[in-house]
């Protein structure tokens, strides 16, 4: 067994390791249970859940880009009730912390979802998604101005005692401003990055490939932008940072932790290799052993702390 202490804290929540799944790329976890034991993850982050059911955007919903992809899923989900009845019930028996990604068109919708989930002991933390570029009302609109972001977090904080993570948008001039604003409203952690707004045009049809036109860019292509933002935010706030954006292996994850991330999340890479996340767990452990790192948390921010 490994000598490295892999445990990390997110607010009041303790995780057995710092590796999460990125919202929307791992379903409810159930879809990947055929490939490995979910209990080996730090936590499962579910897809975005709204008050009522959302039907998402018309297709095509994805298109590949160099070392990345655009998606415009649009937060299709059955609504919080159906989510609790099906996905949450299934997850309950999996011995893995569950973080629910929360979405809404208005601040009070976010709060309503949080309120409903407050009763669910199977929910260990909320990730408030104010950064989805794929919906017109809400989503990223909240994540790109401090007052709007603060309002959403305030309304959720008011009704939820669970660990509160706020998911930040990279589509801003200064990501640290928004990070500070949500920290001030009581966020226990911030996660970043969500996708970069992008577009691909089909030169045969002369139209955007995605039915909605724009979509969110993810995958290895965005990693340098994500690492840079984690580096900035982790030095600007005192709450833990969950880093993501193009992580495909333990070395990528290490970059994020050195940049200042206390946890990392694997997203698009799940599509490339469903076992990526557990590969990151074992790889981080090996890396720490090789470098004589006793606590995985010792890596966090090493790139700027030892400066």
């Amino acid at each position: 067994m490994s000598s490295v202490d892999m445990r990390v804290r997110l607010g009041s929540l303790e995780l057995r390791n710092p590796v999460l799944t990125a919202s929307g790329t791992f379903g409810s976890g159930r879809e990947y249970a055929d490939f490995f034991d979910l209990a080996r993850l730090g936590a499962v982050v579910t897809k975005g859940v709204s008050l009522e059911s959302w039907s998402g955007n018309p297709g095509p919903r994805i298109v590949e880009t160099p070392s990345g992809m655009l998606n415009s899923i649009g937060l299709q989900n059955p609504g919080v009730e159906a989510f609790c009845a099906k996905d949450l019930r299934w997850l309950a028996d999996r011995d893995v912390p569950v973080i629910v990604n929360v979405v809404g068109h208005r601040a009070d919708e976010y709060a309503a979802v949080a309120e409903r989930l407050e009763q669910e002991s199977g929910v260990h933390a909320l990730e408030v998604n104010i950064s989805c570029p794929n919906v017109d009302a809400g989503g990223m609109a909240f994540g790109t101005t401090c007052p709007a972001a603060a309002e959403v977090v305030r309304s959720v904080r008011a009704v939820s005692t669970k660990t509160l993570i706020v998911k930040l948008s990279p589509n801003v001039t200064d990501v640290t401003e928004v990070a500070r604003a949500v920290e001030a409203e009581g966020a226990d952690a911030v996660s970043l990055i969500n996708t970069l707004l992008g577009m691909v045009i089909d030169t045969r049809t002369f139209k955007p490939v995605l039915a909605r036109g724009v979509g969110g860019l993810s995958g290895p292509a965005v990693r340098p932008v994500a690492v840079r933002m984690v580096w900035q935010v982790s030095q600007a706030v005192s709450v833990p940072v969950i880093g993501m954006g193009g992580i495909t292996c333990a070395e990528d994850a290490t970059e994020f932790m050195l940049a200042g991330a206390s946890c990392v999340a694997v997203g698009t890479a799940n599509f490339m290799d469903p076992t990526t996340a557990i590969g990151v767990v074992s790889g981080l452990e090996r890396f720490s052993e090789e470098h004589g790192v006793e606590r995985i948390t010792d890596l966090v921010g090493a790139a700027w702390k030892t400066k």
């Binding site: 929307g24 490939f35 897809k47 919903r61 992809m69 998606n71 299709q76 995958g219 490339m272």
Partner: protein, 270 residues
């Protein structure tokens, strides 16, 4: 058949052979014992063509045939991934996730079936026709393609089907015109208990309409762009009368009657 469908796994595969079998279409044979042993007709594999390439997603391909420990895939070279796949040499190692999806269903007591394949729609029909023959079902097959040079798996189909006819857009083989002309005829003449259709969506929509008119159950295999292939990402949704379904896990085979077909003003047709 769904109950028999094995749970998916990642399986490293070795390329046995890879050659051109028709204009811009190749057949690749993969050594994939686990998947070959569990795959059912109409299911697909999610193939990781290359690592460290500038494209990151897997590519979904129907299993044309599974013999012993080997999978046979028919693929058309259309873009980056398939162009790279075309260069694969025997001995190359890749990996697949499979078997995936819900395949063709053979209703109890089926004695006569009509199979309609347009273009690469012939790919998922190989295992189906083999299974139908095993079950003693009489199969009539109508295949369409732009030209004679693009017709696929003729020997297999001719040897296993009681009736096997073709149509080409340019008349270079069989009837000149779309396969939907043949399907209409055969639907009427063969009185099938079930119809299986795969090909460009407009063609499937037309066949679905013909079957609805004739009151014959019809199954179609739908294509969508797929990221995960396992039901997690919702990139492959199909609009059905029972709401949005995922082509990768709820399909790719659907009952044509459940599908909400779009208007049909696509440019292409078969």
């Amino acid at each position: 058949m769904c109950d028999q469908e094995g749970s998916p796994a990642i399986e490293p595969v070795v390329v046995v052979s890879n050659e051109r079998v028709a204009t811009s279409v190749c057949r690749i044979v993969l050594d994939a014992p686990r998947t070959a042993a569990t795959v059912e007709p109409g299911q697909f594999v999610h193939l990781r063509i290359a690592r460290h390439a500038d494209f990151i997603l897997r590519r979904p391909f129907s299993v044309h045939r599974a013999r012993g420990e080997r999978l046979e895939i028919l693929y058309q070279v259309v873009g980056r991934g398939t162009r790279v796949l075309e260069d694969a040499r025997s001995g190359d190692v890749m990996d697949v996730i499979g078997p995936l999806g819900h395949g063709w269903r053979i209703p109890e007591g089926t004695s006569r079936a009509l199979v309609v394949a347009g273009g690469l729609g012939a790919a998922p029909m190989g295992m189906l026709v083999e299974r139908l023959a095993e079950r003693g079902v009489q199969v009539a097959l109508a295949q369409g393609a732009p030209s004679a040079g693009r017709l696929l798996a003729r020997d297999l189909f001719d040897s296993l089907c009681r009736k096997s006819v073709v149509a080409t857009d340019d008349g270079s083989a069989g009837t000149c015109g779309f396969v939907t002309v043949l399907s209409a005829e055969l639907l009427d003449r063969e009185q099938p208990d079930v119809v299986y259709a795969c090909g460009p969506e407009p063609m499937q929509r037309i066949v679905a309409g013909q079957c609805a008119g004739a009151g014959v159950p019809c199954q179609v295999s739908l294509e969508r762009l797929m990221a995960c292939g396992v039901g997690a990402c919702l990139s492959c949704v199909v609009d059905t009368h029972d709401g949005l379904k995922r082509a990768c896990v709820d399909g790719p085979v659907f009952d044509a009657a459940d599908v909400v077909w779009d208007s049909g003003d696509e440019p292409e047709a078969v």
